[in-house]
């Protein structure tokens, strides 16, 4: 990526804490990770410092298959906030493991996106420090 371009259009970043670092580290390795309780194996997203099910503090993670379906979506049009391009399709994905997360839908036209659409994960490298997940239509991704 052109470094001047990156400077001109800084990307919003997450606050990275000891509780969520595994997730953002995983993306840089092109892995979509889900937090799992080491004791009861309950999955949870967004991650937390402890398991809200069994109250254990020992947390680990698994790597998601990357497949899911769209639970809801929005098409952001205004205001246009750099560095994003508009319309921006933002989706809430039900992962097949059972957790849900917000991501972007790429290479899909606004007229086509629908609740229930099957999607598969991909990755967008923003810079050395930040890689984001995004999703594509399973059909067009040939998954």
């Amino acid at each position: 990526m052109d470094p001047h371009h990156a400077l001109a259009l800084p990307h919003p970043r997450p606050g990275i804490t000891p509780d969520n670092r595994f997730f953002w580290d995983g993306l840089r390795q092109r892995e979509l990770r889900i937090q799992r309780c080491a004791a009861c194996h309950r999955l949870q997203h967004p991650p937390a410092p402890m398991c809200s099910g069994c109250h254990g503090f020992e947390m680990e993670s698994i790597v998601a298959s990357g497949r899911g379906t769209i639970h809801s979506f929005v098409i952001a049009e205004h205001p246009a906030i750099p560095p994003f391009s508009y319309p921006n399709l933002i989706v809430l994905v039900d992962l097949e493991e059972g957790t849900r997360l917000v991501s972007r839908l790429v290479d899909v036209a606004p007229e086509v996106v629908a609740i229930g659409m099957a999607v598969v994960v991909d990755y967008e490298r923003i810079d050395d420090e930040l890689t984001l997940h995004c999703f594509r239509s399973l059909e067009t991704a040939g998954g």
Binding site: G15, I16, P46, A76, H78
Partner: protein, 392 residues
């Protein structure tokens, strides 16, 4: 109803506000001072009578600065409530609790902001290099993907609501039309004499689909203050007391700040249903016993979800309920008779409390006859609050 409850033991004795504009030309602190002085005058009280304040964590005017400016003090109660507009009715709850407990005598609840001319909430604040805190970690699940504005956060739930209920965006439009109709006859409203039609709503531009411009409240400069004191003391003051018959806060399971997307049903507002249950338990009022209601309207879809949460209609039936003028003047449940935040001004819900007081007093510009109880709600999508106001 329980005897130990604070419900009914505190009253709103005064209301005050500035003009509502897009550019006040004055400091936010000055707006707070003007609204507070106006509310005190309305109640027949002096700054020296004030011994408590309650406001939002988001308000930029510390209690002590307001107290210093108006010459109040010493103060023995000051409290702030978090979560944006969800704090609105909770400020009155805090004040009522303090008064009922004997901790304070006269509490000013206030919100003052140059939200349009100085600090706009809708433009999308981007955390470029955030310090790692619990809240920046939270926004990290949304902001990097472009989910940056309140409209976008609400739109995600609104889309699913449409899917689950089978409604179209016309349901949102009916809310907008009602509020603008009421604002059209309110000289204090920004949209005074500017009603809209459903066709206007449907033709307005997309902000974040499925939300259009006319689904989004205004951005406003202005301030509102209300004075809370004991019901007993309020009876001796200038205005007829408006009782805080019930007041409640609510955050539900798996609650987030504007992004409670991880529940089975993301189209409803369980935190507001929880608030509703508490209100009904506190004062025994039932949904059909409200003559009017002020339903927080930062974005139209959550007005529908609130009507369901309070039992005015069943889950999924609000799109039908809001048709045919049922929520307009002359309808079964006129809502937001001042025009709401879509029509009057966006003062983070505090102007809705002032309208609830005027409806109980019988001084509203769009008066409802025979008002016994008014429901007033606070910001939704966030941990929230609500009040039942009634005659003393």
């Amino acid at each position: 109803m329980a005897e130990q409850s604070f419900a009914g033991r505190a009253a709103i004795a005064g209301i005050g506000q500035t003009e509502f504009s897009k550019r006040s030309g004055r400091s936010e602190l000055r707006l707070a001072c003007e609204a507070t002085m106006s509310a005190l005058a309305d109640a027949g009280l002096e700054p020296g009578d004030v011994d408590g304040f309650a406001t939002f964590t988001m308000d930029n005017n510390p209690e002590i600065e307001l107290a210093r400016a108006i010459g109040a003090g010493p103060l023995r109660f000051f409290s702030r409530v978090h979560y944006g507009g969800g704090a609105a009715c909770a400020t009155v709850m805090q004040a009522a609790l303090a008064v009922a407990a004997g901790v304070a005598d006269v509490v000013v609840c206030y919100r003052a902001m140059n939200e349009r001319s100085e600090q706009r909430f809708g433009i999308g604040a981007i955390p470029l290099a955030p310090v790692a805190t619990t809240e920046t970690a939270h926004f990290g699940w949304y902001a990097p993907f472009g989910l940056l504005t309140p409209a976008s956060w609400v739109a995600m739930q609104a889309q699913r609501y449409l899917h689950d209920s089978g409604a179209t965006t016309e349901a949102f439009g009916h809310v907008s039309v009602a509020c603008r109709r009421h604002a059209a006859t309110n000289p204090n409203a920004w949209f005074y004499e500017r009603p809209i039609t459903l066709a206007d709503h449907q033709a307005s531009r997309w902000i974040v689909r499925p939300l259009r411009l006319l689904d989004c409240c205004q951005e406003s400069d202005g301030a509102v203050a209300v004075i809370v004191t004991s019901t007993e003391r309020a009876r001796d003051l200038r205005q007829p007391p408006v009782l805080v018959r019930a007041a409640a806060q609510g955050a539900s399971r798996d609650q987030q700040m504007m992004t409670s997307y991880y529940r089975d049903d993301i189209g409803s507002l369980p935190e507001m249903a929880f608030v509703a249950r508490q209100l009904y338990e506190q004062c025994g009022v039932k949904p059909h016993e409200f003559q009017t209601a002020v339903i927080y309207d930062h974005f139209t879809p959550f007005v529908l979800a609130q009507l369901e949460a309070f039992g005015f209609c069943r889950p999924g039936e609000a799109p039908e309920f809001v048709r045919d003028g049922r929520i307009e003047l002359g309808g079964a449940l006129p809502i937001n008779t001042h025009g709401g935040q879509l029509g009057e001004a966006y003062i983070h819900g505090m102007n809705g409390i002032a309208e609830g007081v005027r409806q109980v007093r019988g001084t509203a510009v769009n008066p409802i006859r025979g008002v016994e109880h008014v429901l007033v709600t606070a910001g939704t999508g966030v941990p929230t609050s609500a009040l039942v106001l009634g005659r003393g």
